[in-house]
C-alpha cells in the first residue's frame, strides 16, 4: 500500500517516448514544447492500447481536469488521420488545429508532474495541496479543499468520544470494581453484551432510537417536552455520530479501567480520610493518581479506534458526519483513485503507529485483555 501511494509508473509505460522528449524541453527558451514531443505523443496515442491509455487519462485528470476530454478528442482525430494514411507535416500544428488547448502551456506544465516514476502528489492532495506550473506546492482551490477539514473533524470527534467515554466510564468502572463480585459479575453483562454484539446491530439500533420518529423523540413528545413537529434531528449528523460512537466504544474504556481499579486497595481511601482528608481531597490526591494507567490505556484505545472508525459515521453521520475513513472507502470503491486512497491510508497509519508506540510505552502491548 505504501508503494502504491507514491507509484506513478503506470502512466510512464503508456507515454514513455513523450515523457522522454518532454524532459528535453527547455521551458525558459520555448513557450511550447518542441515538435518531437508532439510527434511522440501522436504516435503513442495512435498505436497505444486502449485500456492502458484510458487508465493513464484518469491519472492525468488528477493533475489537471480537462486532460481526459482533450486527449480523447485529439485521439479520435489522430485515428481518423492514420486511417486515411495522411500524416501531417507538422505535428505541432496538427495538434493545435484539432484543439486550441494544445497551445495552452498550462496543460504542458501539468504534464511535468507525471514524467517521473514516483510522485508525492497524492500526499499533497491528501492535505489539500497541489502543484503549480513550476512544481511548487500550493493550496488547492477553495472549493476543492475537503481533506484538511475532514482530518480536523476526525480528530475532533475522536477527542470528544474519548472524553465522553472517560466521563461515563469512570464511575461505572468504579462501581463495578467496588461491588462484591457476585453483583459486579451480573452488572458486567451490561458492559459485555454490547461489546459482543455486532457493530451493525448497534448502529441500526441507534438509528431506531434517534431518528425523527424514533424512540427518544417519541418519549420526549409523549412527556410533553417537545411538540409533535418540534422533533429534534439527532441522527444523520454529527450528534448522532458522537452518541453512537460513544456507546459503541464505551466498553473499551470501562474494561481497562475496571481491571486497574480492581487491584487498588480500598484501605488507601480510608487511610487518607483517617489522616484528615475530605472525601473529595482523598479521591483527588490518592485514588485518581492510581487509576492513571487505566485511564491512559482506555483513553488511547478508544481514541485509536475512534480515529479510524468508518462504519458508524458512514451510516449514522449523514453528510456532515463523514470522517476520513469514509473518504478512503470512497476513493477505493467509487473513484478508483488508488494513489490517493493509499496516501490517505498511509497518513492515518502514521498517526496510528505513534499512538500504538505510546500505548506500548504506557501499558505494554501484551497487557491487552479481553472480557
Amino acid at each position: 500500500m505504501l508503494l502504491r501511494s507514491v507509484d506513478d509508473s503506470q502512466i510512464n509505460t503508456v507515454f514513455p517516448n513523450t515523457f522522454e522528449e518532454y524532459k528535453k524541453w527547455d521551458k525558459e527558451k520555448d513557450e511550447l514544447p518542441p515538435e518531437e514531443v508532439y510527434k511522440a505523443l501522436f504516435q503513442e496515442l495512435a498505436y497505444g492500447e486502449k485500456v492502458q491509455v484510458g487508465r493513464a487519462l484518469t491519472r492525468m485528470n488528477y493533475s489537471k481536469s480537462g486532460w481526459k476530454s482533450l486527449i480523447k478528442k485529439t485521439s479520435r482525430a489522430i485515428k481518423k488521420v492514420v486511417k486515411k494514411d495522411e500524416f501531417p507535416d507538422s505535428y505541432k500544428e496538427f495538434f493545435i488545429e484539432t484543439n486550441e488547448k494544445w497551445a495552452d502551456p498550462t496543460y504542458w506544465y501539468a504534464m511535468g508532474q507525471m514524467v517521473n516514476n514516483q510522485t508525492s502528489i497524492y500526499y499533497w492532495n491528501a492535505i489539500d495541496r497541489t502543484f503549480d506550473q513550476e512544481l511548487n506546492v500550493v493550496q488547492q482551490e477553495e472549493d476543492r479543499r475537503v481533506y484538511v477539514q475532514t482530518w480536523l473533524k476526525t480528530l475532533k470527534v475522536s477527542i470528544y468520544v474519548t472524553l465522553f467515554c472517560l466521563i461515563l466510564g469512570f464511575p461505572v468502572a468504579h462501581l463495578l470494581a467496588n461491588l462484591p463480585l457476585r453483583y459486579s459479575n451480573l452488572l458486567m453483562i451490561f458492559v459485555l453484551l454490547p461489546f459482543w454484539t455486532s457493530l451493525l446491530v448497534r448502529t441500526t439500533a441507534w438509528i431506531v432510537m434517534l431518528q425523527q420518529k424514533g424512540v427518544i423523540n417519541g418519549v420526549l413528545v409523549w412527556l410533553g417536552i417537545l411538540s409533535d413537529d418540534g422533533r429534534i434531528a439527532m441522527v444523520y449528523n454529527e450528534t448522532g455520530t458522537l452518541i453512537a460512537m460513544t456507546q459503541i466504544l464505551l466498553p473499551f474504556m470501562i474494561l481497562p479501567l475496571y481491571s486497574v481499579m480492581r487491584v487498588i486497595p480500598k484501605s488507601h481511601m480510608r487511610a487518607a480520610q483517617n489522616l484528615g482528608a475530605k472525601p473529595v481531597m482523598a479521591f483527588w490526591r490518592v485514588y485518581l493518581p492510581q487509576t492513571i494507567p487505566g485511564m491512559s490505556a482506555g483513553g488511547l484505545l478508544v481514541f485509536v479506534l475512534a480515529i479510524g472508525y468508518f462504519i458508524t459515521p458512514e451510516l449514522v453521520g449523514g453528510k456532515d458526519g463523514k470522517l476520513i475513513g469514509s473518504w478512503i472507502a470512497y476513493h477505493l470503491k467509487t473513484t478508483l483513485n488508488w494513489g490517493l486512497t493509499a496516501a490517505l491510508g498511509a497518513i492515518l497509519l502514521g498517526f496510528m503507529l505513534i499512538f500504538y508506540w505510546l500505548y506500548n510505552k504506557i501499558v505494554g502491548i501484551d497487557n491487552i485483555k479481553l472480557g
Binding site: 500500500m1 459485555l192 454490547p194 454484539t197 451493525l200 441500526t204 439500533a205
Partner: protein, 298 residues
C-alpha cells in the same frame, strides 16, 4: 460499597447521585439493543413503535411475524409489502457467514494457538516485536487493513473469492486467539511438559495429551472471539467480496443504506441472541479457568 451509617446528608446525596449516574450509563449501554426487539415483531413496514403496539390492552393486529417470514425467504402474499423487497438474500448471507466464519475460525485458532505456545516460551527471541506485529490487525483501523489487503490480494487474484475473504478474516481473527491463549498459558506449569517428555512422549503427543486439555478453555474462548470477529466483519467483506460472498453484515449494511425495513431488526434480534449465547459460554469458561487456577472469588 454500601454507605457507612455515619454518612452526612451531603455524602448521601452524592452517593445516590453516583448510583443514579451509573444506572443511566448502564441504561445507555443496553437500551438500544433492547429497543429493537419489540419493533422487529411489528406489523408496520417502518422501524417505529406504532400506536397499536403501545396501546393497552395490546392490540394483536399490530404485532406479527411477517418480517421474520420475509427474512427466511417466505415471500407469500401476506408477507410481501410494497416498500420492502423480499428475497432469499438474508438466508444466503447466513449460510455464507457461517461458512466463512467457521473455516476462518478453524485456521485462526490453529495458527493462533501455535503462535501463543511459541511466544510463551521463556527464551523466545524478538518476543515483543513478534507480538506487536501479530496484534497489529487489532489496532490498525480496519479501513487501512482493508485497503492494504485489497491492493495486495488484487495482485495475486484473490479479490472477490471465498479464499480471499477467508484469508483476510484469518488475519483479523488470529490476534484474538493469540491473546486469550497467552492469557491461559500464564497459569500453565511448564514442568508438566518436561514430565511428559521425560516419560517418553513425543512433542505432538505432549501437546495433545497434556497441554491442550489444560488450555482448552482459553482455546475455545479464543475461537469464539475469532468467530464473532469474522461473523461481524463488514469492511473487508465490502471491498473484497462480490455478490457471491454476500454475508449477513454486508446485507445489513446494504439494508440500512437502501431499504430501511424491519427485516434488518429481525436479523439484529437474532444476532443479539447469538451474542448472548456466546457471551455466556465465554463467561462460564473464564470462571472455570479461574477456579482451576485456584484464584478465589473475592
Amino acid at each position: 460499597m454500601a454507605l457507612p451509617t455515619y454518612a452526612t446528608p451531603i455524602q448521601r446525596t452524592y452517593y445516590y447521585a453516583y448510583l443514579f449516574f451509573c444506572a443511566v450509563v448502564f441504561f445507555f449501554l443496553v437500551a438500544p439493543l433492547i429497543a429493537i426487539v419489540p419493533i422487529s415483531f411489528s406489523e408496520s413496514p417502518f422501524m417505529v413503535f406504532t400506536e397499536g403496539m403501545l396501546a393497552w390492552p395490546p392490540d394483536p393486529e399490530a404485532w406479527s411475524l411477517r418480517w421474520y417470514r420475509n427474512m427466511i425467504g417466505d415471500c407469500s402474499a401476506e408477507v410481501v409489502s410494497s416498500t420492502v423487497p423480499c428475497s432469499t438474500k438474508w438466508m444466503r448471507g447466513t449460510v455464507n457467514s457461517f461458512y466463512i466464519g467457521i473455516i476462518a475460525t478453524f485456521i485462526a485458532t490453529v495458527l493462533g494457538t501455535m503462535a501463543a505456545l511459541g511466544l510463551s516460551r521463556p527464551h523466545m527471541p524478538y518476543k515483543a516485536l513478534i507480538m506487536s506485529i501479530l496484534i497489529s490487525p487489532m489496532i490498525v483501523p480496519l479501513i487501512i487493513t482493508a485497503a492494504g489487503m485489497f491492493f495486495f490480494y488484487a495482485r495475486i487474484n484473490l479479490v472477490y473469492t471465498f479464499t480471499g475473504v477467508i484469508l483476510a478474516h484469518v488475519a483479523l481473527a488470529t490476534p484474538f486467539v493469540v491473546i486469550t491463549v497467552t492469557a491461559t498459558l500464564v497459569g500453565f506449569d511448564m514442568n508438566m511438559v518436561k514430565a511428559a517428555q521425560s516419560l517418553g512422549a513425543k512433542p505432538m503427543r505432549t501437546f495433545f495429551k497434556v497441554i491442550m486439555p489444560l488450555i482448552l478453555p482459553g482455546i475455545i474462548s479464543g475461537a469464539l472471539f475469532a468467530f464473532i470477529t469474522s461473523f461481524d466483519e463488514v469492511v473487508i467483506v465490502m471491498f473484497m467480496a462480490s455478490i457471491d460472498q454476500l454475508t449477513i453484515p454486508k446485507q445489513m449494511w446494504a439494508g440500512i443504506r437502501q431499504e430501511i425495513s424491519p427485516v434488518i431488526l429481525c436479523m439484529a434480534t437474532c444476532l443479539v441472541i447469538l451474542s448472548i449465547v456466546l457471551l455466556t459460554t465465554v463467561e462460564l469458561l473464564r470462571r472455570r479457568a479461574e477456579r482451576l487456577r485456584g484464584i478465589k472469588a473475592r
